[in-house]
Structure formats: structure tokens, C-alpha cells
């Protein structure tokens, strides 16, 4: 049985101090997005320790580059389908930190006013078409959104994000075949963080790369990239979007990454071998990208300004959420059905 190597992959993009295909404006967006996710996720963790984040939460600390790279490469109108580990992808599409933290804290200012919770973040106006907490469910759903785009001649792309554990559930395989047969404009993004919940993915998977090594079964290219390097992710995403928009069908992309925290708030992640977390922290996406900006000539004060502005936004959002009331109880009875109510009888 293949066991995943636990070393961090080497960064493949090297800046040479000049602007390139990505350019400074996008690089600053990529950095700002990653720092926003880092700060908001860290804040979510801190608020959990204060018992202000209720229920469960699944953080993307350490996985920020995947969310940032794919979101920044999107066009307005492209659609994101996320998992219960979806805070990062929601923030990356431009949803406010206040609305995300408000939902985690179950306040009336939350994205869904407490009706969904941490695992179901949705912001249709930002193209975040739901976060799905049943493993694999959203891959076929993304296929359907892509089918609509293809049928109506619309040019948007549907992107679904999922973890390595998803590659062993039936819906993953059904969706890949479906998308390949119908050449749907959908991108399947596997965030391989080496663990399906608490178990090393290599212990329970027949192939070394749980997503990429299955691609050939659906006639797709085998793609494995450094998911902690936002430039690499951005370029990979952009190529896949171009392919989808050109009518060439789906892509399956495996991004190697690592979560710094446990699976969920209940998990101290004691199953990890000694030194693994520290090695991956040397390959931290924020650290990599901070250096990247400098290589491309962005000065320290400009970088620090982004960081302090993000911190200010997260601080302000936190205070607003702490002050916000709980959800109004009358919304218990709304939106079960399209008439706005819940009546099942006359």
C-alpha cells in the first residue's frame, strides 16, 4: 500500500525580480486573499477557545494557497462548490469576514443568519453555491451547474473543492465519468492534505495520489501540483478554466497541501508523526508568498500594509459579531419551501 511521503514538495516557481505573466496587481490580490483566510481562520480558532464559535468548524490553516489561487483566477460568474472545510473558499470569493465569522458565531449578521452554520457557507451573489457536508455530494451538483452552462451556451465554469478522502466515495467516480462523457465545463480540485479526517490517506487508498492517479480512468490528464504555492495554483487553475471555456471538458487537479490544525475543532491531530507539522510549516503558503512578493520587488512596507489592513478588518468583524444579536426566531419557519414558508398541509 502506498504511503504518502510526508515531506513538503519543493516550490516550483522562482521569481527573478521582474514582473511576469501573473503581475504585481494579481500577486497582491493573491497575498491579500491568503492573509485574509489565515487571519480569519486563526480568529475562528481563537473564538472557539473562548466558546464564541459554536458547533463544529473545519479550518483551512495551511491550505490558503489553493483557495486563493483558484478564486483569483476565476471570472465573475464562475461558480464555487465547497465542502464543510469551506470558509477559505467563501472568503476567497470576496464574502466579508464579518458574514463568515457571524455564521460561525451563530449571530443574526451571519451569512445565512445561523440557519446553515460553519459547514454550509453559501453566498450566491459571490458565486459560492453552497458548502456541502456530505462527502462527495457536491461533485455531481457542480456537474449539473456545468451542464446548465453548456446547455445555455453560457461561459462560466463550475469549480468544486474537496479533500483527499472524497476520492474514495462513489459520487467522486460517478461525477468524473459524467463530466468526462458530457465534456462539462467543471473543474475538480482535490486538496490533498494527507489525512482523511484522522487517518493517513495512504493507509486507505490503493494509489499514491488519490485523485491524480484516478484521472486516467476517466480519460483525464494526471495533474499534481504544489498546493502551497499560490502562483503554481493560479497558473494551473487558469489553464483549466481556459480548457473548460474552450469546450474541452473537465479537469481533475490534485493540490498537495497540509492542514496546520486538526480535522475539526474536536481534533488535536495527535496522529501526526513527530516533525511533520514543523516540516510543512517551513513550506507555509503565506511564508512562501511573502518571499515571492519580495522577489518581485514589492517593498516590505507595502506587504506590512496589507497585513495590518487585513488584521484591522478581522478585528472589526470580530467586534461586530460579538455585538450582534442571535438570529431572530421567526426565520425558523421561513424558506422550507419556495413560497417562503414551511406549510406541508392546508
Amino acid at each position: 500500500m502506498a504511503r504518502k511521503p510526508s515531506r513538503a514538495p519543493a516550490s516550483s516557481a522562482r521569481g527573478d525580480g521582474v514582473n511576469d505573466d501573473i503581475g504585481e496587481e494579481l500577486r497582491l490580490r493573491l497575498y491579500q486573499t491568503q492573509v485574509t483566510i489565515r487571519e480569519a481562520e486563526q480568529r475562528a480558532y481563537d473564538l472557539f477557545l473562548q466558546n464564541l464559535v459554536k458547533g463544529t468548524s473545519h479550518l483551512s490553516l495551511g491550505q490558503e494557497a489553493v483557495a486563493a489561487g483558484f478564486a483569483v483566477a476565476m471570472k465573475p460568474g464562475d461558480l464555487s462548490f465547497c465542502t464543510y472545510r469551506g470558509h477559505a473558499h467563501t472568503l476567497a470569493r470576496g464574502v466579508s469576514v464579518e458574514k463568515v465569522l457571524g455564521e460561525l458565531m451563530q449571530r443574526s449578521n451571519g451569512l445565512m443568519r445561523g440557519k446553515g452554520g460553519s459547514m454550509h457557507l453559501t453566498s450566491a451573489e459571490h458565486g459560492v453555491m453552497g458548502s456541502y457536508a456530505i462527502i462527495g455530494a457536491h461533485l455531481p451538483i457542480a456537474c449539473g451547474a456545468a451542464l446548465r452552462a453548456q446547455y445555455k451556451g453560457q461561459n462560466d465554469v463550475s469549480v468544486c473543492f474537496f479533500g483527499d478522502g472524497t476520492t474514495n466515495i462513489g459520487a467522486f467516480h460517478e461525477a468524473l465519468n459524467f463530466a468526462a462523457v458530457w465534456k462539462l465545463p467543471v473543474i475538480f480540485v482535490c486538496e490533498n492534505n494527507l489525512y482523511m479526517e484522522y487517518t493517513p490517506i495512504g493507509d486507505v487508498t490503493a494509489v499514491e495520489h488519490p485523485a491524480a492517479d484516478r484521472a486516467a480512468a476517466y480519460g483525464l490528464e494526471r495533474i499534481v501540483v504544489d498546493g502551497n504555492d499560490a502562483d503554481v495554483v493560479y497558473r494551473t487553475a487558469a489553464a483549466a478554466y481556459d480548457r473548460a471555456r474552450a469546450g474541452k471538458g473537465p479537469s481533475l487537479i490534485e493540490c498537495m497541501t497540509y492542514r496546520h490544525s486538526g480535522h475539526s475543532r474536536a481534533d488535536p491531530a495527535k496522529y501526526r508523526p513527530e516533525g511533520e507539522l514543523e516540516r510543512w510549516k517551513q513550506h507555509d503558503p503565506i511564508k512562501i508568498y511573502r518571499e515571492r512578493l519580495k522577489q518581485f520587488g514589492v517593498q516590505e512596507p507595502a506587504i506590512a500594509a496589507i497585513e495590518s489592513e487585513v488584521k484591522r478588518v478581522v478585528d472589526e468583524a470580530t467586534e461586530k459579531c460579538k455585538a450582534a444579536p442571535p438570529p431572530p426566531l421567526d426565520i425558523l419557519w421561513t424558506d422550507v419551501y419556495a413560497d417562503g414558508g414551511w406549510a406541508w398541509r392546508n
Partner: protein, 326 residues
């Protein structure tokens, strides 16, 4: 007015809606080139073309998931699950996804789709291709659940389901496909959530659904002819929304009520109806409500066994007669 089979009414209903609205698309296993394993969708591929009428792989999760993704982004998909028993392999969408996305998203997402499926026994297919599972769908908040008993209702309720903004599970009955009935010419659009009194009577109310409707009617005729018992027969048609007004109104007139259910006994839809009647019409009743159901066993394949476990005209007749003479 034309006489149509229940089977042909399915294709007519789908065609009526596809001709009206280009956002209606239809997909499922063997539904396009083969015209459906029950031949319910013959001619649709030829009429509407391969972009709108599509054969899928044997991937029930992909079928329902794709229907949901298409629905939430602007299409009005009709998805077919060949046998309703197969809901068990794609139940995530029926139980967790379709009915909850609008609520969980605080009204941001919509899910206007129809899942058609062949439900029910009588074909000697055994325990995994014969079940009546409308109660599986009825128990989930957020779904609408319909089961027509006549060709006219197939067209009208299917049209209403396609036009409805919520996810509708549409149960066709396999043993009704060959039955015939008059269907008016032109567009037919019915209303979800409406039961229909198909035989007036003063002595007892019989509530029935799908294949049990013609059996309840036959039993009512026999009860009248042989025993002078005058039964009202209500075709429930729609489990969600549920037309409790028609049902309670009938019980208030007849003072006795019987349900005829193809579901196995426990948690069949009749249990919910009887509970509502007990809560709200207890003092209208002259005797206990009685449920006539399939016993709580898996369905057998052999004809002699299948025939006696489903509620029969004999069993309905005898149960009503005995209860009323007690």
C-alpha cells in the same frame, strides 16, 4: 378527448412541458434512445433532440446531483430514477441536498426539479424492484410528493410538478402503466396538494393512493352491491402538500375512515393521516380508523405470494364490511 394509457400519459406530460419551456431538460438511464425501460418516454428524443433528452450512465447519484446543480442555476430538470427502490443508492440528494439547500442558505438557493420514478409492486420483480417508497419521501421536510392514479392525473400533476418551484418526487406506479383513461385534448395543468373525491358515499371514507385507488373503487362498488355499504373514495394524489381539508371534510360526513396503503405497515403514509384525523376529527368518528396495508415483510417475487400481500379488493371489501358491522 383521447383514451391514453398511463404509460403514454407520462411521455405526453413531459412533452407538453418541454414544448412550453426550453429550460426543461430530461435525463436518466435508458430514457432517450431506448424510450425508457417501461416505454414511458418513447419519442421524446426524436421530438426534442439529444441536448434536451439524454441517456446517462448507471449513476444515480450523478443523475440527481446533476439535476440539482442544473436546477439551482436556472434549468428545470426532470430526472428519472428507473425504479424507486434505487432511491436507496442516491438518498443523499433526496434526504440531505434537495430539501435543505433553500433552508440552510437562508433562501439564497433554489431547487426546482422533478424526480420521476417507477414505484410499486405487481410485476413479480421481488423485494428490490417492487417497493412503494412514497413514505420515504413524505417524511422529509422540503420535498413535495405526488403519486397519480390515472392518465389524466399523470399529465396534469407532472405539469404542475415541473412548474413548481420546489423539488417534487413524482411516483408513477408500474402496475398502472398499461391502464387506460380519458385525457382531454390541449394543455392540462393540475394543482399540487389537492386530493380528489372520486366516488361519493355516506357510510365510510376510503383514502387511497396510486394503484390502491382503482382497488378501493372496486371494493366500494362491491360493498354497495353486495352489502349496501356506501363508501366515499378519496384519491389522496399528493402526500406533500397534503389536502387535509378534503380528507377531514369527508371523514366529517361519513364518520368512518379506512386507509389503503401499499407501503409496508410501519410508518406508511396512512399512519400520518390517521394521526391527523385522530387529533382533529376524533369526535366525528363513530369507530376506530383502520389501516389496510401490505404486511411488514419484504415483498416476495412469486405471483401467488405477491398477490396476497398487497391490499386486494377482497381484503379491502372484507375489512370495511367487518368493521362497519362490528
Amino acid at each position: 378527448m383521447a383514451e391514453l394509457t398511463y404509460r403514454d400519459a407520462v411521455a405526453r406530460g413531459i412533452a407538453q412541458e418541454m414544448a412550453r419551456d426550453p429550460d426543461v431538460i430530461f435525463f436518466g438511464e435508458d430514457i432517450a434512445k431506448a424510450g425508457g425501460v417501461f416505454k414511458t418516454t418513447v419519442g421524446l428524443l426524436e421530438q426534442f433532440g439529444p441536448k434536451r433528452v439524454r441517456d446517462t450512465p448507471i449513476s444515480e447519484q450523478a443523475i440527481l446531483g446533476a439535476a440539482m446543480g442544473a436546477a439551482m442555476t436556472g434549468l428545470k430538470p426532470i430526472a428519472e430514477i428507473m425504479f424507486s427502490d434505487f432511491f436507496a443508492v442516491c438518498f443523499d440528494y433526496i434526504a440531505n441536498e434537495f430539501p435543505k439547500s433553500r433552508y440552510m442558505s437562508d433562501g439564497q438557493l433554489k431547487c426546482p426539479l422533478v424526480v420521476r420514478t417507477a414505484n410499486g409492486a405487481g410485476s413479480r420483480f421481488g423485494a428490490q424492484h417492487s417497493q412503494s417508497v412514497e413514505n420515504w419521501a413524505m417524511m422529509i421536510p422540503g420535498l413535495k410528493v405526488v403519486a397519480p392514479s390515472s392518465p389524466r392525473d399523470v399529465v396534469g400533476l407532472l405539469a404542475a410538478a415541473v412548474r413548481d418551484p420546489d423539488p417534487v418526487i413524482f411516483f408513477e406506479h408500474k402496475s398502472l402503466y398499461a391502464t387506460k383513461g380519458e385525457v382531454p385534448d390541449g394543455e392540462i395543468v393540475d394543482t399540487l396538494g389537492t386530493a380528489r373525491i372520486i366516488r361519493g358515499g355516506k357510510d365510510a371514507t376510503i383514502l387511497a393512493l396510486a394503484l390502491m385507488v382503482p382497488r378501493a373503487l372496486d371494493a366500494a362498488e362491491r360493498l354497495q352491491a353486495q352489502h349496501g355499504i356506501d363508501c366515499e373514495v378519496v384519491d389522496v394524489r399528493s402526500l406533500v402538500p397534503l389536502d387535509t381539508q378534503t380528507i377531514l371534510g369527508s371523514v366529517a360526513r361519513t364518520h368512518r375512515v379506512f386507509t389503503v396503503e401499499e407501503n409496508p405497515r410501519l410508518c406508511g403514509w396512512g399512519a400520518e393521516l390517521v394521526s391527523i384525523i385522530a387529533d382533529e376529527a376524533f369526535y366525528d368518528l363513530d369507530g376506530p380508523p383502520v389501516r389496510i396495508t401490505t404486511p411488514h415483510i419484504p415483498l416476495p417475487a412469486a405471483d401467488v405470494m405477491e398477490d396476497i400481500v398487497l391490499p386486494t379488493v377482497d381484503r379491502i371489501t372484507e375489512t370495511v364490511r367487518r368493521s362497519l358491522s362490528a
